[in-house]
Subunit: 429 residues, 2 copies
C-alpha cells in the first residue's frame, strides 16, 4: 500500500511537507546543547502558564461540542482542562527540562584492532509522530520529551480536542521560539482529516517512529497499518503469581494493590495465579471480594470461595481494565510460567514469593518487558521507575521495552577516531 | 496485506509451523548458559568439518546446475565451496563461540523511588529470519550468531545454493543436538517456493526480526514488503571529505584505500569531496587515476585533472561498487556536510583533516550510522570494529545501527526486585 492510496493526495502532500519541515527543524535542534533545550522547555512551560486563559477558553469550546455530541463522562473527563490541570501540564513540561540529557552520551568506547578509537554515542531518533486521542495534555507531554531528547515531533491529536490542542501547541511553539529554538520542532497537524493519520503511518523515511497514545482501537490500527516503526503496547494483560512460599500478608497487600489501586491502567493485574500450595489463598480472595472486586475463576479457585464466578476461556485473555479479576490455581512455578507464556501480553508479570531461587527463575524465564518480584504490577510506569516521565510503555521486542522515556527516544552512531589508518591488503591497481 | 494474500496458504501454514517450532526451541535455548551455547557452536563447527565430503558433494550439484543455467562467473564464485572455504566457515562458527556473551548482561541498575531495585538485563530478541542469496556460508555464519545470542534462526537461502545449504544446515543442526541443544533452534525452510519469503515477511508476532543478506534487489523487496522489523542497509553510498587541513600523504593513502582496496563492498567510498582549499588535490586524483579508477567530477574537479570525466546528476546518488568515483570540489566543511546530507545513504562517511575542531563538528553533525575521522571507510565492518563477526550493517535509525553483532541480536527486559512494595494511594473499595 503506498501513501497515495490511503487518503487524499493533498493530505499526503501536507503530511510530507510538515515532515520535511520537522526534519529540518530537528537538524537544528540536534545541534543545540542541553541548556538550550532545557531553556526551550522552561519557556514553553511559561508560555502555557501565561496563555492559560486562551487555552481554557479553547478547551471550553471543545467541551461544549463534546457535550453536544454526547461524549461519555469518562471521555469528557479526559478532555477537560482547568487551572489546576493546566498548571500540572506546565509543571510536567518544566520537569522534563531537569531530566538528565541522553543526547551525546557515550555508550561505550573501544579500540579497533587496526588502532582507531570507536565511540558509540547517543543521538536523537529524528522525527517522532505522535497520534493521540482526547487528552490534550499529550500535546505538551510528548512535545517536551521529544524536544528534550533532540527530536522533532509531529502531533496528531483527536478531533474532540482540536481547539485545546491548537492553543496548547501555540503556547509551546511560542516558548521554543522565545528560547531561540526552531518552533517547527513541534508541529500540530492542522487538519482533522482522518487520511492524515494514514499518511503519517505510511511516511517511512520521513517519520522515524510513531507513538500512538490512546485506546486499544487506535493502537491496533496504528500497529496494523504502519510502515513506520511503532513504539507501543496493545494490551496490558498482567499476571501476579502468588507462589507457595509467599508471605501471606505481603501477597494480600500486593494483589489488592495490583488489581484495585487503579483498575483502568495498563499495569493493573488482570489474572491472579494462586499456587495450590499457597496456604492463605482464601484470605487473598476474600480481601479482593470485600474490596468490591468480581472474581472469575477455574474450578479450583471456585472451590476456595463460593463467591468466585466461573471463568470462560476468553477470560484468561481479557484485559478487564475494571474491578474484575481472573483467578487460576496452578501447581507450582512451572505451571504458573506456562500460563503466563500462553496468556501474557508481555507487558508486566509479577511473582510474590519468599523463595529467592524461584523468584530468580521467574525473572529470568518470563519473557515480558517488565518482570517483578514482590512488588505490585501497578508500578509499571516511567515515573515510578525514576525515568522522570514516559512517552509510553512498549511491548515490542526491538529498540526500547517497558517504560520509554528520553533514552528510548535516542539511537546511536559510531564515531571512529583514526590516525590515518587504512585497511590495506587488497588495494587494486 | 495479510499473510494469506501473499502466497499459497500451504506455504503460509508451513512458515507459521516452522516459526512456532523455532520459538519453542528458542525458549529452551534462552534458558541455556553461555558454555552450553559455546559448546553447541564448537560441535557445529566439528560437524561441518566431519561432513565436509557430503557438503562439497552437495555444493558440486549446485555448481553443476548453476553452470548449466548460465550463472555469471561472479555468482558462481559466491556459490563455490572448497576445502579451504569450508574450513574457514567452520573456523568462523567456532570463533563466534569465543565471543563475549551478551545474554543476561546487566545494562544498568537503579533504585525506584518506592524502593525496588530496577535492573535492565539483555535477553535474546527471539526468532530471527535470515533471507539470503547465493552464498552458502551465510547458513553457518548467521546461525552461529543467532545461537550464541540465544536466538532461534529461520533460514531461507537462495535456490542456487539449495543443496549446499541443506548439507551445511544438517551438519549445524547435528552439532547443536550433539551438544544437547534443540536442533530446531536453527531451521532451514524446506521449500524454494518464493511465496515462503512473502510469508516470512508478513509473519509479525511469529518472527521478531528479519535480516536480509544479499544484493540491493533482495534488500529493497524485504524493506518494501516486510511487516516484521528489518535490520539492513540498502546502499553504502559512502563519502570521504578531504578538508583543507588534511595531511596530503594521509589523504592520498586514505582515499586510495577507501575507494580501491575492494570496490565491491558497502564500505567503499563512492564520492570524494575535495575542499577547494586542500592544496594537494591534483596528487590525490592522479593517484586514483594511476590506480585504474575512473573519476567523474564536477567542473572544478575536471579543472584539476583533464582525465576526470563529467559527472551527471545521478552520479552523486550512485553506489558504483566498482573502480569509479564521483568527485566534487566543495567550499569548506559546511558545503561538504550539506553534500553528505543530500546524498549519503547514512552508512559511513569520513573526514580527513588535521583540524580536530572541524573533525569534531563533522563527527557530531553528519547523521550516518558510522562517521570517521582520518580513517578509511573500508573499515566499516564488524570484524574490523572488534565485534568478532557481524550479522549485517544497519542504516535504520532504531534498535541497532552500523555493524550489528551479538549485542544487536539482543533486547532487554526490566527486572524489578521488590520487598513487598505497593503503589497505594488510590486503592478502591
Amino acid at each position: 500500500m503506498s501513501a497515495n492510496t490511503d487518503g487524499g493526495s493533498d493530505t499526503v502532500a501536507l503530511v510530507e511537507q510538515l515532515a520535511r519541515r520537522g526534519r529540518a527543524a530537528q537538524r537544528s535542534l540536534a545541534a543545540s546543547d542541553t541548556a538550550s533545550r532545557a531553556r526551550g522547555l522552561e519557556q514553553a512551560a511559561a508560555a502555557i502558564r501565561e496563555q492559560a486563559p486562551a487555552i481554557l477558553t479553547s478547551n471550553a469550546r471543545d467541551m461544549e461540542a463534546a457535550r453536544a455530541s454526547g461524549l461519555s463522562p469518562a471521555m469528557l473527563d479526559r478532555l477537560a482542562l482547568d487551572e489546576a490541570r493546566l498548571t500540572a501540564i506546565a509543571d510536567a513540561v518544566a520537569s522534563v527540562a531537569r531530566l538528565p540529557d541522553p543526547v551525546g552520551e557515550e555508550i561505550d568506547r573501544r579500540e579497533a584492532p587496526a588502532g582507531m578509537t570507536l565511540v558509540r554515542r547517543r543521538i536523537p531518533v529524528g522525527l517522532i509522530g505522535i497520534i493521540y486521542e482526547s487528552r490534550p495534555n499529550v500535546t505538551a507531554d510528548a512535545a517536551a520529551l521529544c524536544v528534550m531528547s533532540g527530536n522533532a515531533a509531529l502531533l496528531r491529536g483527536g478531533s474532540e480536542a482540536v481547539h485545546s490542542n491548537r492553543a496548547l501547541h501555540a503556547a509551546f511553539a511560542r516558548g521554543l521560539a522565545d528560547a531561540g529554538l526552531p518552533a517547527e520542532a513541534v508541529q500540530l497537524l492542522p487538519t482533522q482529516d482522518r487520511a492524515a493519520v494514514g499518511a503519517m503511518l505510511q511516511a517511512a523515511g520521513l517519520i522515524d517512529m510513531i507513538v500512538p497514545r490512546g485506546g486499544k482501537g487506535l493502537v491496533a490500527r496504528v500497529q496494523a497499518d504502519a510502515r513506520v516503526p511503532v513504539l507501543a503496547h496493545l494490551d496490558g494483560l498482567c499476571h501476579t503469581y502468588v507462589h507457595a512460599a509467599a508471605d501471606p500478608e505481603m501477597a494480600e497487600a500486593i494483589v489488592l494493590d495490583a488489581k484495585m489501586r487503579r483498575t483502568g491502567i495498563c499495569g493493573a493485574t488482570e489474572t491472579l495465579l494462586l499456587d495450590a500450595a499457597f496456604p492463605a489463598a482464601g484470605k487473598v480472595l476474600a480481601t479482593l471480594l470485600d474490596a468490591g472486586c468480581e472474581l472469575r475463576g477455574d474450578a479450583r479457585a471456585r472451590a476456595i470461595d463460593p463467591r468466585v464466578g466461573e471463568a470462560s476461556a476468553e477470560d484468561w485473555d481479557t484485559e478487564y481494565l475494571d474491578a474484575v479479576l481472573s483467578v487460576a490455581v496452578v501447581d507450582g512455578p512451572e505451571a504458573a510460567m506456562a500460563h503466563v507464556a500462553a496468556h501474557s501480553s508481555g507487558h508486566t508479570d509479577a511473582i510474590v514469593t519468599a523463595d529467592d531461587q524461584v523468584a530468580a527463575r521467574f525473572l529470568a524465564e518470563v519473557d515480558s518487558a517488565i518482570v517483578m518480584h514482590n512488588a505490585s504490577t501497578q508500578f509499571a510506569d516511567g515515573g515510578e521507575f525514576g525515568l522522570g516521565a514516559e512517552i509510553g510503555i512498549a511491548t515490542g521486542r526491538l529498540h526500547a521495552r517497558g517504560p520509554v522515556a528520553l533514552e528510548g527516544l535516542t539511537t546511536y552512531k559510531w564515531q571512529v577516531l583514526g590516525h590515518g589508518e587504512v585497511r590495506g591488503g587488497e588495494v587494486r591497481g
